[in-house]
């Protein structure tokens, strides 16, 4: 598989993953939690690297997921036991975990070694670093997420729409919310290598917001969002490869932001331009 195809395929998968889960985060008003998970992933990635002693994507992703889990748990702890508000709790965990990541990153860089060069690409994303084996892993993750969404679709939809009613109905709300959190974390963590920790949140939100302007119905929204995410991912990756030393993340985010702007202005019925006229 040519490097270009690898990159295109890989970023399409990531973009689609983030796009598919974004609607749930946006509709449940939990967009910024995605930001926390992304920043918190950095120390996890570093620890994964230290454990595996090489840039092994499964190890890095596992580290990122575990770090995300701990971060979420700590936020819950802060909320349950203190009067600190949710936004402050998120801000504290976000900046502290990121600082830890910076410290670990500098430690790895000071120890030298060629393998560590790829790590700082997680800050802003570097699609060019993607390997064929990464694409295989990502395909497996995408299939898993697809399976989960398809199987539990109706309850995921209900929990996103009316959580209390779901509880009154006796649905397994806590389990569904944990499931959503888990697959969202997977999508975020998988996308980090291409978009970077700082910008990932935009790839989670933008396709969903854009898609919302065009369709009615959760399934169309998720599908369109996945498509737009994939599109932003691929075009960003290909564009950034045209100039030397351009990080992929910023380009993807600007493409995605452009999609949002277009959608908010011009979408039929919801578009602002039509409303003014």
């Amino acid at each position: 598989m040519s490097p270009l195809l690898t990159v295109a395929l890989g970023t399409a998968l990531l973009g689609a993953l983030a796009g598919a889960l974004g609607p749930f985060a946006v509709l449940r008003k939990q967009s910024l939690m995605g930001d926390v998970l992304s920043h918190a992933a950095l120390p996890g990635i570093c620890i994964g690297f230290l454990v595996a002693q090489e840039r092994s994507l499964p190890a890095l992703l596992a580290g990122a997921l575990i770090a995300g889990l701990i971060a979420a748990g700590l936020i819950q702890l802060i909320l349950r036991f203190t009067r600190i508000k949710p936004d402050a709790a998120m801000g504290i965990i976000l900046s502290t975990f990121f600082a830890l990541g910076v410290v670990l990153l500098s430690h790895i860089q000071h120890s030298g070694g060629a393998a560590q060069a790829g790590l700082s690409s997680f800050l802003f994303g570097q699609a060019a670093a993607m390997l064929a084996s990464d694409v295989t892993l990502l395909s497996a993750l995408a299939a898993l997420v697809l399976l989960i969404l398809a199987t539990f679709w109706k309850d995921l939809k209900l929990v996103a729409f009316d959580r209390d009613y779901a509880r009154a109905l006796g649905r397994p709300v806590a389990a569904m919310e944990s499931l959503l959190a888990a697959v969202t974390a997977i999508a975020i963590v998988a996308g980090l290598q291409v978009v970077g920790v700082v910008l990932m949140v935009a790839l989670l939100i933008a396709p969903a917001v854009a898609a919302r302007q065009w369709v009615e119905g959760l399934l169309p929204m998720v599908l369109l969002s996945a498509l737009l995410g994939a599109g932003a991912g691929v075009s960003g990756a290909l564009l950034s490869s045209t100039a030397r030393g351009l990080a992929t993340g910023p380009v993807i985010v600007l493409v995605a932001a452009g999609l949002v702007l277009l959608s908010i202005l011009f979408a039929p019925r919801r578009g602002l331009v039509w409303r003014r006229a």
Binding site: S31, L94, I205, L254, I264, L272
Partner: protein, 392 residues
């Protein structure tokens, strides 16, 4: 003195202390106001301001950059608000879109045009405090690092601002409606706070970068919040804790050979964790103990009220009582025993042989609890509420 300013380690420490001080002061109000994440967003977005200002004017630092940063900060706030007002998306989604977009634009400009100068993406994120002592200006015969100069200015500015506008700030945070009524313009005051914070972020940029700066703005104030109820004490503590983090961070970083700025920011988290667990009154341990005590006390009230209202008389056979409580209140047997023991300890009930007797104090507590849960609107004197009729 000249030697002091020429000493790299001393300058690094001084810079860190100044960042911590300058950041903690506005940070207290921003955190209390619920603007922690907005601060994070602004800190990212000023990168756009820096890149654009540099592109337009060629300056990397100095007052022009600072103005550009303040503008970028305000732009962020305005954009987020404007997007939210379109009602096409939510406020948190707007935040998560605007700041990464501005940040991405800034990074892109740097990537494309600023390759050869001392403005690269890693510095943007993380700063490089180890090199601050290289850029100096000659003042009074000494070479003082620029970062130290600008941060001292901002530390003084921020201190001056919050002292001057203490009352409006305090009201804007705790009671914005009242502040507006008083003509204290809470919106303006908070806007000023955001602008100052953005400008401080630029001053701190070289040292700790955009993102680590946020840690200094948010975390020490949150730590101080756990330790005191007084705003003035909170501000003072936040500054001290921030500066302590800078000191501890530098020492640890030198010992472990890691990023100094990162370690300083990490130390703010360490202090927070300490306060989280151990703070008297608001920390986790204290809260756990207090909640357990509250639950037991509440359970005693419930028990006493129940005995008071339902018992055939004040004397109840203890064993029957416990069985009855189990089926009425649905408490597990063990919990009932705990509560009965606590009630005995508190003198609310006493044992007479095999019987549980409601004491005077217990009966009084029962009456008081019932009365305290009385109508929210006090009845007129001539309409004293009748006792609740027996259940159907």
């Amino acid at each position: 003195m000249t030697a002091f300013f020429a000493n790299p380690d001393a300058m690094i420490l001084l810079t860190g202390l100044l960042v911590a001080l300058a950041a903690a002061l506005p940070g207290c109000f921003l955190v209390l106001r619920g603007s922690s994440l907005m601060t994070d967003a602004i800190s990212h977005a000023i990168v756009f301001g820096i890149a654009l200002t540099w592109l337009a004017t060629g300056y990397i630092s100095g007052p022009i950059q600072i103005a550009g940063a303040a503008a970028a900060g305000l732009l962020t706030v305005l954009l987020i608000e404007a997007l939210t007002r379109t009602r096409r998306l939510n406020n948190d989604a707007a935040m998560g879109l605007v700041f990464p977009t501005l940040f991405a634009a800034g990074v892109l400009i740097i990537n494309l045009y600023a390759r050869d100068i001392h403005l690269d993406t890693d510095t943007v994120l993380l700063g490089e405090i180890a090199f601050v002592w290289l850029d100096t200006t000659r003042i009074a015969g000494m070479d003082i690092p620029n970062a130290v100069i600008s941060l001292t200015v901002f530390a003084a500015l921020n201190l001056g601002f919050i002292l001057l506008f203490w009352k409006p700030l305090k009201l804007a945070v705790f009671d914005p409606d009242f502040a507006a009524l008083q003509g204290l313009r809470p919106g303006l005051v908070l806007g000023g706070l955001f602008a100052l914070t953005s400008a401080t972020a630029v001053a701190a940029f070289d040292a700790v970068g955009a993102i680590l700066f946020v840690a200094f703005v948010i975390v020490p104030p949150a730590t101080a919040y756990l330790l005191t109820q007084s705003l003035a004490v909170m501000v003072t503590l936040a500054a001290l804790i921030g500066m302590g983090s800078a000191l501890a961070g530098q020492q640890a970083a030198l010992a472990l050979d890691v990023s100094i700025g990162g370690m300083m920011a990490l130390m703010t988290g360490a202090f927070f964790a300490l306060a989280l667990v151990a703070a008297p009154g608001k920390g986790v341990i204290a809260t756990l103990l207090r909640r357990r005590n509250d639950r037991l006390a509440f359970a005693c009230r419930t028990l006493v009220t129940h005995l008071h209202s339902h018992a055939a008389g004040p004397r109840v056979d203890e064993e029957n009582a416990i069985t009855a409580l189990e089926s009425h209140l649905r408490w597990p047997r063990r919990q009932i025993r705990n509560v009965v023991l606590r009630a005995l300890d508190d003198g609310l009930v006493r044992r007479e042989g095999a019987m549980l007797v409601l004491t005077e104090m217990g009966a009084a507590l029962g009456r008081e609890t019932v009365a305290s849960v009385a109508p929210l609107i006090p009845p007129r004197p001539q309409d004293q509420p009748q006792p609740a009729p027996p259940a159907a």
